[in-house]
Symmetry: D2
Subunit: 426 residues, 4 copies
């Protein structure tokens, strides 16, 4: 078993203990020699890093915990790099949510003008990380958590030479919830899942190798806990007509109207609310008696993130040939999308050998919308990488939330003005 | 010069004299032996047919004018079939406009829920015409005017064996208006036009073979008569960033917000207003002294329709190798769309030999939206042909105007209820 | 565990005991309730069926063994259908080999004019089987052994509605031989294999999840047992330049010259030699004391066929998520080939859910030849299904062995004349 | 009318007067201010340049004729660059023909190992010309005559930024011969031609816009002058079964056997014979009394080259919207081939605006062979540009003439040894 150096960039995130917890539970399957915690915010790093050091007491073989504000130092010799950072922290998120809100548009940190702004801030930073890896950790794998995960992973795949896999907790969370509500045994179920990040669908469900799709779909759509399973009370007629279940974030498209009405009614955005949650968590983390993952972390969202990441690294290291839903370049998996577009799809991981399960043509029922959103995503990548205001305008206009090019231009200008330190477009 | 039989289906349309006028002005280039006027509405046919008979006095060699309510009779032996009918006439159009309006959505007869409803009514009828042609006029060409022209032409191309070309007056009108405002000589200009019906773009302008795109685009976008030229005051930053001019109906997408606000403010829909225009025209047409195309016809809209159709038939008959913008199966012209999807594109017509000018990849700036709308269109074709309510729901949800699957389901039910004689979905 | 009916069509083949042996060794994993042995040749069926009945003594729970000349009877209620038949038996094969030989062309039963003739004879018969299955065993899976396996499987996939998987022993045999010679542990190796039937390549070798390609390829190409591993002493410079290993039948293309010279020198063709082997085997099989798979069967060729088939059925039944190299419709696995072209590729089998491992673009080094041969194959399918001599001529001319359209025409006529009972082209 | 500078690279070619003659006949449509004749062989340049100077006496407005051995000087400010050079002159061609001959393979200067060797010699040189143009004539158009024209044009299109159009006299010659033999009026005929260079097909013939394919194809195939029209007595059954006529160089594929037998019988290769023709022409050209294109030039081959080039420049300059068969990047014209592959196809030329006539899917009857040869071509481009012996070996093995990878390796080594001054592979 090789000894791993795990670099966590943006380790001051309150999520970081979750990840450490994942390694604790897998001790024996993976041996960590070092957690290299990097953050430019020393205060946060001290608090979160302190907790992580205490958490490492749970390992039988204690890993080294190093803390640094220097990127190259953290990355040098790393085997895996995990990204947790948020450019501008939660106040930036609040801006991403409030600018669209002022125009009557959903403000959300992964999609719409909000996710767009976040991508513009994040891509230049994460490419710096990748280019540093090219020098000091060229064989490492970057596991990208940073949202909007699909867009960020596409930027990394197109514009760096490192190996990158994007992860999202939506698929795993959906599976676990359906399994729980429908009484299915996780070990026996295969979900025929496909899509792009935060834009996923379930096309079939196999139980013990038997196609149970036609039996389970109506039961799921009729179930009182439908919204718990799929993340929203999606329209039953649509799902059964498509014979495809939309998942989670599809509510922003198929129920944009209802979600918008609800969003506009709320006094505070999610980002604003989380500022308090975050502060509170940091207070908890500062308690020198806290030595394990704190219970309050679950409020923060992001369930199963750590599970997804650690299980993936486990497959890389231990060659267990498991299926993971990952964000990766399409390379023909969907015949409709460009080879270098990043998609979200089950892949079989046999050590270094990642093979997506071939999918073929996108079903016509969802192809149009996927193409539309993917065009927005790829344009956003280009805009951020090239620092082009022209491309940024075209990208934003391409988002299905936008219904006016004139308004898009106004919003783009507001985004640029709101983040003068992070967004530099010409 | 061969002698032509021209069958006009829905000849009771007030547009029909326009078409006859086109043939009058081209006498000498094409010889019509018969205009076969067919309409199921005998009253309208008598009035419009009467005017047409009088108009035929303008020909040196008088064609025969026959009038019938029998489809097979009109089609038998035809060389060209031109469709003018509207299933349910203008009252059906008013419903198409008002159902969306009640939900705060643009009601328009070619796009959105309105165009969707019109397609559902029209496709079964026009396929009957095509199947009749297969029997009694298998070598005739159907020139489709009926809206939504792209969807209807796609249904005909996929589900019949006759030769069909779809036409729309948008490209020719746009060209003529730009030429007029910018002082260009029609004979010297080539517009590098592409798109799908009511969804067209100009990618370049060549004058005397010289690429004047970079010079003309900013001038057009800055011109006070911009809206006259492109059909709307499109966003200048967007057009110049894309280096592509959107045309006409793109306002419904790139300025949906503004168009919707304006639409919802109006007391009467266009269809409702036209009911009176139509009545008035029929009164004019009834005047036995009227022997030429009446002046009032221009209010009715549809400028240059007749010019487009007659010029195309002229190229078929006289082999002049002219370029026409037509609706036709893609067959690889755009590498992104399916081979059997109908697109709107310049084609070189050398008699029977129609060759679209190859285009290649759709520019990423517009690809997403085109894919989205084309998916909606192809799903609508399937829904209408198969009579499937499930497919109809999926199609409608795919339209970019729709922001709620639940609302789409309500609207679909309202459409079905509003047209019990014409729409039969299961 | 469900109880299976296994129908063996052409059960009089001397291969059949091999298959029974496979089930014997997997008793406990699959429960066979009936072997339905069907053959139109009663004499052969009696001999081989007799041996099979005796072999079934090895099962703890004895399956029923039924013998019939009636196709529908054998197929009714079957769970799996395995095809073993050869239209015209070995004398037909000898003709397939000798017609090309007379023209100085390699005569081979799976490729070139020989394989072409065999496909023309076989496709009409196997489609009869498939259409019978559609009626009496619509949920059964046909496992196709019949050569040319890729072409036959493509015909079945395109022109019937049954589920079909094509199998070939080349991949499994190659793996086992490389593993043996190079000292690799079968359980630990993943071969990144791709191609079409009898036209396969190895693009990578992973051992315990580690990419060992760059280390192992030169060792394999330098090894004195190279030909034992890959089936031919392929050109080392080519393999290393391509970074792709050609396998087995590629000798007919990359070393056509040498193989042809050798073939033309031999007095008797393989088919002629096998006539005696076959007779001898039938004598052995007739021995009432023989109750297990006879040793002599190994001379007949076809090692590991039974292993491939039984392991696949095991994965279907027991949901073991194993990787199998199968012949199946492309559906985008290779972005270059048509969706309905049959390819040979690793697939993950989780019960009913077969997912090919996505491959993407064919490497340019081999794309041209694969496209060429696949065009020949698809044309052959069309020729056989439509009974068209025109298409047959075009197909044969497309085979890379052919260097003269005139000669191809002569050979086609000789093939038609040689098999008047089986090939009916117009 | 703008005044043109025409640079002729390799102007010492005995073809050059042909080109000048073309401009003479088009005086009034194009105004040449300068012919810049460049050649590294001063002796040839003096002789051919001398004749050209005398020929220019035929112009009413005399162009300047400059002669130089300096590439940059010739190219500076050029409007059109025409390439005529042959790296290594005719003795190199003789080697290209004799190396394959020694192995019993057709030696031909545009296809097979011969054309392959010529491409390896030519690509590095022509890219130097293109890169020089990028600096000193960035808006000029390079009209490529140099064989193998398709491969050379593909190298230029992929690896330089200049505008390049490849030309070949095969299509125009074929058209003129068919028109002559079949009594068709050139002005009235449209040939639906497609393919890649020296690999062209006719899919349809339209006369006065009427599809005459089904009538004319059998007449052409039955005609005693078939070989005069298509360049070879192609197999009638094949052509009619395909409903596609193969043209000229297809004989090397569809009748490789017969062509090879004939080739191997001949004592001297075409290149060897031309050495004498060339010498003789130079003697004629040296005659100070010769002031027009010499009659003997027709023996040299290459009829209509000048016509093709001058007519194309005429369309560029005079915007006549004519159809020209050109070699140009595919860009989706054939949906099967890569966008950057160079194909041979009719294009409509309206000044600067070149639009290929869209073709769509390659017919399956010819797709396989086209894909095979195009893969060889693209690999050859890569090998020459990268100077890679590995890629060169893969390329050569991909040529349909090759039947042994071992032999290909030997031949490649012989080619490298034969041209030490021109081919540098590692």
């Amino acid at each position: 078993m090789r000894e791993l150096k795990i670099a966590i960039i943006g380790a001051g995130s309150t999520y970081s203990p979750e990840l450490i917890h994942g390694f604790v539970t897998r001790e024996g399957r993976m041996k960590v020699k070092e957690f290299a915690l990097m953050d430019i915010n020393k205060d946060r790093l001290d608090i979160v890093g302190g907790l992580i050091k205490r958490m490492c007491g749970e390992f039988k073989e204690k890993p080294l915990v190093t803390m640094t504000g220097n990127l190259e130092e953290a990355l040098t010799g790393a085997d895996y790099v995990v990204t947790q950072f948020r450019v501008g922290l939660l106040p930036a998120r609040a801006k991403d949510e409030n600018i669209p809100k002022r125009h009557g548009i959903i403000g959300q940190e992964t999609t719409g003008p909000g996710g767009f702004a976040k991508a513009l801030r994040t891509i230049p930073e994460i490419l710096k990380i990748a280019h540093c890896m090219e020098k000091v950790a060229p064989n490492a794998t970057l596991i990208n958590f940073t949202n909007p995960s699909g867009i960020i992973t596409e930027a990394l795949s197109k514009y760096s030479n490192i190996r990158v896999v994007g992860l999202c907790n939506t698929p795993i969370t959906t599976y676990k919830r359906i399994n729980k509500v429908m009484g299915l045994n996780e070990e026996e179920v295969f979900y025929d899942y496909f899509g792009i990040n935060h834009f996923g669908f379930i096309k079939g469900i196999y139980v013990k190798g038997k196609d149970m799709t036609d039996e389970l779909f109506p039961k799921i759509m009729d179930h009182p806990k439908l919204d718990e399973m799929l993340g929203y009370k999606f329209n039953k007629s649509q799902a059964l007509a498509m014979r495809i279940l939309p998942v989670g974030y599809l509510q922003y498209y198929y129920h944009q109207k209802e979600v918008r009405e609800n969003f506009l009614k709320q006094e505070k955005t999610r980002g604003e609310l989380l500022i308090d949650v975050d502060k509170e968590l940091l207070v908890q983390y500062s308690d020198p008696n806290l030595k394990t993952k704190p219970a309050g972390l679950d409020q923060r969202g992001g369930a199963w993130y750590s599970e997804a990441a650690c299980a993936l690294m486990d497959s890389f290291e231990n060659n267990d040939r498991a299926i993971h839903v990952i964000n990766i370049q399409n390379n023909g998996t969907f015949t409709d999308l460009a080879d270098d577009a990043v998609i979200e799809i089950p892949a079989r991981v046999e050590g270094e050998c990642i093979k997506t399960l071939n999918f073929g043509k996108l079903p016509l029922a969802v192809k149009g919308l996927i193409e539309h959103v993917k065009a927005y995503e790829s344009l956003t990548v280009e805009a951020a990488v090239k620092g082009s205001k022209d491309l940024a305008l075209i990208a934003l206009i391409n988002h299905p939330f936008m219904t006016s090019a004139d308004e898009a231009e106004v919003i783009l200008n507001e985004i640029i003005e709101a983040h003068p330190d992070y967004i530099h477009l010409k």
